[in-house]
């Protein structure tokens, strides 16, 4: 249904895609050190794929992440969150307790469970937004 755009847009978006993607990953991974975090990074990741969707049409985006993968990854992100929350109960404290070792302040591997949460929610937001867009753009919808 979406045909995509001209060669200029396609080329530029193909060149930009890795950088945007990397930027999203950076925001997610450094969530506990710099401004940003799982949600913001996840939105940046989704935006990178959506740029491909605009430039190349539905097929171009689906080649990177298809709808089923997006849905599965979203469940995975949600399960990471719930699992990390339940870790607190499993070690015998409270739900959502920060259980992993803190490490040293200011390093990438620090702040206990927080980077894991950021990672989980990053996956979840990126794929969740993609799923919403895919669902809205799907040709069918309704009775056939």
């Amino acid at each position: 249904m979406m045909a995509g755009m001209t060669v200029i847009v396609r080329t530029i978006s193909r060149l930009l895609f890795p950088f945007l993607f990397l930027f999203g990953v950076y925001i997610v991974v450094h969530g506990h050190l710099t401004p940003g975090g799982g949600f913001q990074g996840g939105v940046a990741l989704a935006a990178a794929v959506l740029m491909l969707l605009l430039a190349y049409g539905m097929e171009g985006a689906q080649a990177k992440v298809n709808a089923l993968q997006a849905e599965l990854a979203e469940s995975l992100g949600g399960l990471i969150l719930v699992w990390m929350g339940l870790m607190g109960i499993i070690v015998g404290l409270a739900f959502f307790k920060n259980v992993l070792p803190f490490g040293s302040l200011g390093q990438v591997l620090s702040a206990g469970s927080l980077p894991v949460f950021n990672f989980g929610v990053g996956i979840k937001v990126a794929t969740g937004l993609l799923t919403i867009f895919y669902a809205m753009l799907r040709i069918g919808g309704g009775e056939e």
Binding site: T34, P35, L105, G106, V125, I132, A135, M136, G141, G142
Partner: protein, 121 residues
């Protein structure tokens, strides 16, 4: 005079007006966005401290381990966390509203949800 608060509240009222008086679904969604964004602006302004810095321990402050210094200089972090939650909630409401709009337009060819009026009792 707290100009930030006043502008935010004006945006909020503008959003309510748009939400209640427009009969086009897209305009209603826009009104909803204006309203909630006014609210977010208000919430985020509430935590501001004159000349405050971001509530992040970074740079030479981190090297000195000066957490107390941060506490004296930084803006209130709680509204920032709340606004983050609220923005995501808002995005989700908008996604559902826009989907309803797309669905209505595709299947019934109208963006006015009140086009067919039943006999209201």
């Amino acid at each position: 005079m707290s100009l930030n608060y006043i502008i935010a509240m004006m945006l909020f009222t503008l959003g309510i007006y748009c939400l209640l008086f427009k009969r086009n679904l897209m305009k209603m969604v826009i009104g909803l966005q204006v309203m909630t964004n006014g609210l977010h602006l208000f919430l985020i302004s509430l935590g501001y401290r004159e000349g405050g810095i971001a509530p992040i321990l970074a740079g030479e402050m981190l090297e000195r381990g000066a957490a107390a210094e941060l506490a004296a200089a930084a803006v209130d972090p709680v509204p920032q966390a709340l606004v983050l939650t609220s923005i995501v909630i808002n995005v989700c409401t908008m996604a559902l509203a826009l989907s309803l709009a797309v669905y209505t337009y595709r299947h019934y060819g109208t963006l006015n949800p009140f086009r067919i009026r039943r006999l209201k009792g």
